[in-house]
């Protein structure tokens, strides 16, 4: 896969690369509506392919539609040898909503200033979650569109084109339950299958690597999340401190603490908040996404291992049939089928896994570099703020004047 060429894309995909640079099928999600729990995405497609009715069209989709698409792809036998891009996670507004609720409850105890500030912060957080979820859904579609085999899938086309509601195709309760059960069986199988002897070195290596890497990246994701949350807590603290001081009258007793604390904290908190969200985006999201992606790769391995087990079983069945001298042709055919399936899976699996590796490395690099740059930028901002304040405080003795200036500066940061 070639590296991402930014100029081709309007938006920069942070966690995945090489998307949407095939002009024959361009997908994006230009906007989305959020109502209570449900998010309605507008999926916009531009295509030159003849298989579509129109060259450009938009349809509204909900999160469940994406899940449906993902599941159908997973269930398609033909794609067993491919890494199916991981399904986007459900939009989770729980965090900000809870905070908003708490804020509403505590409104009486806070000053108006503090309340407005915290409300703004919450809105920003809400917006960040919103943006994140749009992005994740978009990436899912774009990965599908850039995969040479998957983008020809009929269900995918229906998803993009069908302008009626897709709810008829979505899982009903029974199917969901069945799906849940299947997942459980799958994980049990995974354990069994991992004991199957692997004939191919490449796959053996990949299996070990992926299993190990998965557990480590899961751990890292969790820790990164905690770290980001701590940053957010600190930013919140800064908000509270600054809003506490903001409206106080200046008296001789308070003056310096007043000015300095308020102003520096007010500006610092903005920076801290940005740091937290940037870190989240670049680092935590990256890790989260690749955790899911690796799970998808593991699923591929699982399917292949299953096919191998099937093949071995069919071999045994064939032997048994030969012994009993009964149903030999069926057994042979069955065995042939299994072998074919297994070979096909192995071949496409190898390709997929190799390209996955390359893609992962590139994405990591890009994100880590961006994160480092952002951190540096923030540190610069923070230090210049502080330096500024230090100079300022030291140089001035006229407190009212200082107060006014500080206020103005603060607004501008």
């Amino acid at each position: 896969m070639t590296t991402l060429d930014d100029s081709n894309k309007e938006k920069i995909r942070s966690v995945s690369v090489d998307l949407n640079n095939d002009a024959s099928l361009l997908i994006d999600i230009p906007d989305a509506l959020c109502e209570r729990d449900k998010v309605k995405f507008t999926v916009h497609t531009k295509t030159t392919l003849s298989s579509f009715q129109k060259p450009e069209f938009s349809v509204p989709r909900q999160h469940e539609d994406f899940i449906w698409l993902h599941d159908t792809l997973v269930e398609t036998e033909d794609y067993a040898g491919l890494i199916i891009p991981p399904a986007p996670p459900k939009p989770d507004f729980e965090g900000p909503r809870e905070k908003m609720h708490k804020l509403g409850e505590g409104e009486a105890t806070m000053t108006k200033e503090e309340y407005t500030k915290m409300k703004q912060e919450l809105e920003a957080e809400y917006l960040a979650v919103f943006k994140k979820t749009v992005q994740v859904h978009e990436i899912f579609l774009q990965r599908l569109s850039s995969h040479p085999i998957l983008n020809k899938d009929r269900n995918f086309q229906i998803f993009l084109e069908y302008d009626q509601d897709l709810s008829v195709r979505r899982k009903n309760a029974k199917e969901m339950f069945g799906g849940f059960f299947k997942n459980m069986v799958k994980s049990a199988d995974e354990v069994l299958i991992s004991g199957v002897k692997e004939v191919d070195d490449f796959f053996e290596q990949e299996k070990t690597f992926l299993l190990d890497y998965y557990s480590k990246i899961k751990d890292s994701t969790a820790k990164a999340e905690k770290m980001t949350r701590s940053h957010k807590n600190i930013a919140d603290d800064y908000i509270r401190i600054s809003s506490l001081m903001y409206q106080q009258k200046i008296t001789r007793i308070l003056i310096y603490t007043h000015i300095v604390v308020t102003m520096s904290f007010v500006s610092l908190q903005k920076v801290e908040g940005r740091v937290a969200s940037d870190q989240e985006l670049k680092l935590t999201e990256l890790l989260r996404y690749y955790m899911r992606d690796i799970q998808a790769a593991k699923d591929l391995l699982y399917r292949r291992a299953r096919a191998l087990a099937d093949y071995e079983n069919s071999n045994k069945a064939l032997d048994k049939a030969r012994l009993k001298s009964k149903d030999i042709p069926q057994a042979e055919e069955h065995q042939q089928q299994c072998l074919q399936k297994f070979d096909k899976l192995s071949e496409s699996g190898k390709k997929e896994l190799t390209s996955f590796k390359g893609r992962r490395v590139v994405a990591f690099r890009k994100n880590l570099i961006e994160m480092a740059e952002l951190e540096i930028k923030h540190a610069k901002v923070r230090s210049s703020i502080q330096l500024y304040y230090i100079c300022f405080i030291m140089c001035t003795n006229e407190l009212q004047y200082a107060w006014g200036i500080c206020k103005i500066l603060c607004e501008q940061i």
Binding site: F209, D212, Y213, K216, I217, D219, S220, K223, A224, K226, M227, R229, S230, H231, N233, I234, D237, Y238, R240, I241, L244, M245, Q248, K249, T251, R252, I253, L254, I255, Y256, T257, V260, V261, S264, K357, V361, F364, R365, L368, I369, A372, E373, E375, I376, A379, K380, R382, S383, Q386, L387, Y389, I390, C391, I393, M394, C395, N397
Partner: protein, 607 residues
């Protein structure tokens, strides 16, 4: 940028003590001293070492005498001290924490011995916040003296010798502490905890006891406040001294250096228990409180904290506790000696000088005196509610309102800052665990370049964790403690207002009593009982005298309170400015480091 560089240098120098006062009087270019200091001004002037200290913040602004000296100071510290006699005219009274003194031998003698005394300095054990010097001349010399964290111990020999004894501590508290503890640890490994930690800062004397002995003979005694930075081995163990008493806390030694003539020697060290500090406070507040003085309050007892320490729990919370307490006690003593009137009190002198103080048992919570105190407090509270004072002077009313508003505000602020500290500690923990996890991820990664990048990320995050921890400590010590101190002080200010109110009440009571007596007299006159009449007349005279006296008392107390409050405001403002600047500087430094860390990460990304 230049300015910034200068700033950095200054900040480092600031801490280092710079007291090389000049002997010449002309040095007293002290900035206008407060009125309050009044007669003390002279002394103050003499002792003002501030010039030196003012480097920090005030440099840009200060044009005071210090420029030349400050320049000196700006230079490598050691040079400063090695400068000599010319320079050290003013001797820092400050007790310099000998801790740093590697120089060990240096105790600078105060050239000025002859001069009227400076207040005994309390050595700041690297307490940057006590650094009054930073304040430009406005600070009274007293203040400056005591505040100097740098210890400049005058050498008996009087040579300017200034050793840079006070190496001033690095701006970072932690480093200071580390330095301090290093010598201490080496010093009295054994003596530690069991003793009431005296911590001899003297570098020269490693052993506290030894120091004490020596110091008795020579003027090198220093009293230091010691702190036990590490409960485990540190010699000065504030807390460790398990000692005996259930509620009395072991304490720190107070190191002082002084040039005041009223003291016998120039620098001396004594050991004090925490209860002694409380006892001192009791005595001072009894004597001076009712007169309207604002007596600085010591830190509170904390049963929980002390128990944890005594039990020997070696976690960071007990070290924190000890460190906080040490700092608070040091600042407390600094304030006491900076107060122009309090320093005159013989009790204070005794506290600073005497080798063994009688156990102040009446500070124990469960003692008889303790109960008495509680009862008194209760009655006071009740009477406060019932007394309705007719405030003739609106200034007092306004001030009281301000004080109360400030008190409320700062209490809230304190809780918020504490929560900030907790969150920052959490952040550092989380960063540490993330760093480990990233390292493991890097090792699992099979692409070598990415693997290397990930392990570098892990390293960077590790350093960030360090940084966060330091920042948390900084938040605690220079910010949260500051606020806690201030809250206590505001309480003391309120107390002085209360005393004024009591004085007023007494006056009013006397007046009403006089009124009653007059009525009695009138009645008797009418009833014509000559013998009782005589008695009544006598009583009237007596009460008239009392009324006059109480009125005068009230006026006097009012005037004192007013003076005190003004002085308090000025001092606080200065102090805060200095402290906040320091805090911001440390924030600044940590930001620079963050920049460096992440730059190193970016640079190595050669993938």
């Amino acid at each position: 940028m230049l300015f910034f560089k200068y700033l950095n240098v200054c900040s480092i120098n600031k801490l280092t003590l710079i007291f090389t006062g000049s002997t010449s009087k002309s040095e007293d270019t002290d900035p206008p001293l407060d009125d309050e200091t009044g007669s003390k001004v002279e002394q103050a002037k003499e002792t003002s070492t501030d010039p030196i200290i003012n480097i920090t913040g005030d440099l840009p602004a200060s044009d005071t005498q210090q420029p030349p000296t400050t320049n000196k100071i700006a230079d490598p510290l050691l040079d400063l001290f090695s400068d000599t006699p010319a320079v050290d005219a003013k001797k820092p009274i400050q007790p310099i924490p000998d801790l740093f003194e590697d120089e060990g031998s240096d105790l600078f003698t105060e050239p000025r011995q002859t001069k009227p005394a400076k207040q005994p300095q309390k050595s700041l054990f690297g307490e940057p916040d006590e650094d009054l010097f930073a304040e430009p001349l406005g600070a009274t010399s007293k203040k400056t003296i005591s505040q100097e964290p740098k210890t400049v111990t005058p050498k008996p020999s009087g040579d300017g010798g200034d050793k840079g004894a006070n190496q001033r501590e690095p701006a970072d508290i932690f480093t200071e502490e580390a330095v301090i503890t290093a010598p201490t640890v080496s010093k009295t490994p054994g003596a530690t905890s069991k003793t009431n930690g005296v911590h001899s800062e003297e570098d020269t004397d490693i052993f506290a006891e030894a120091t004490v002995e020596l110091s008795l003979d020579s003027p090198h005694n220093e009293r230091k406040k010691d702190m036990t930075a590490k409960p485990s081995a540190s010699a000065p163990s504030l807390a460790a001294a398990a000692a005996a008493a259930s509620l009395t806390k072991p304490q720190s030694a107070a190191l002082e250096e002084t040039t005041l003539p009223m003291f016998r020697t120039k620098t001396f060290t004594v050991r004090r228990r925490f209860s002694d500090f409380l006892g001192l406070y009791e005595k001072l507040s009894e004597k001076h409180g009712p007169n309207g003085f604002i007596v600085p309050p010591p830190p509170e007892k904390s049963i929980l904290g002390m128990t944890k320490v005594k039990v020997g729990k070696e976690d960071s919370s007990s070290t924190d506790f000890v460190e906080r307490r040490r700092g608070a006690l040091e600042r407390y003593l600094q304030r006491v000696v900076n107060h122009p009137s309090l320093i005159q009190d013989p009790d204070v002198r005794e506290f600073l000088e005497r080798e063994e103080l009688p156990r102040a048992v009446n500070t124990q919570a469960l003692s008889g005196a303790g109960f008495l105190k509680m009862i008194n407090k209760a009655t006071d509270a009740v009477s406060k509610m019932t007394i309705k004072m007719n405030e003739s002077d609106v200034w007092f009313e306004e001030k009281l309102q301000e004080v109360e508003a400030a008190d409320q505000l700062f209490r809230k602020l304190h809780t918020l800052v504490e929560s900030l500290v907790v969150h920052r500690k959490e952040l550092s923990l989380n960063t540490a665990s993330f760093a480990k996890s990233a390292a493991m991820l890097g090792s699992a990664e099979d692409n070598t370049a990415l693997s290397r990048a990930l392990s570098q990320l892990a390293e960077v995050e590790d350093k960030m964790e360090q940084l966060h921890q330091e920042q948390a400590a900084n938040d605690t010590f220079s910010f949260a403690e500051l606020i806690a101190d201030f809250i206590r002080l505001l309480g003391a200010v309120r107390g002085s207002f209360d005393h004024r109110m009591k004085a007023w009440q007494r006056w009013q009571d006397a007046q009403s009593m006089l009124q009653k007596k007059r009525e009695t007299e009138a009645k008797l006159l009418w009833a014509n009982k000559p013998d009782k009449l005589q008695l009544a007349k006598e009583e009237i005279v007596e009460w008239e005298a009392k009324v006059t006296q109480y009125e005068r008392d009230f006026e006097r107390v009012s005037a004192t309170v007013r003076k005190e409050v003004i002085r308090f405001e000025k001092e606080r403002t200065k102090n805060f400015k200095r402290q906040i600047i320091k805090y911001m500087e440390s924030l600044l430094q940590s930001q620079q480091q963050v920049k460096c860390f992440y730059s190193s990460l970016g640079m190595k990304k050669t993938m």
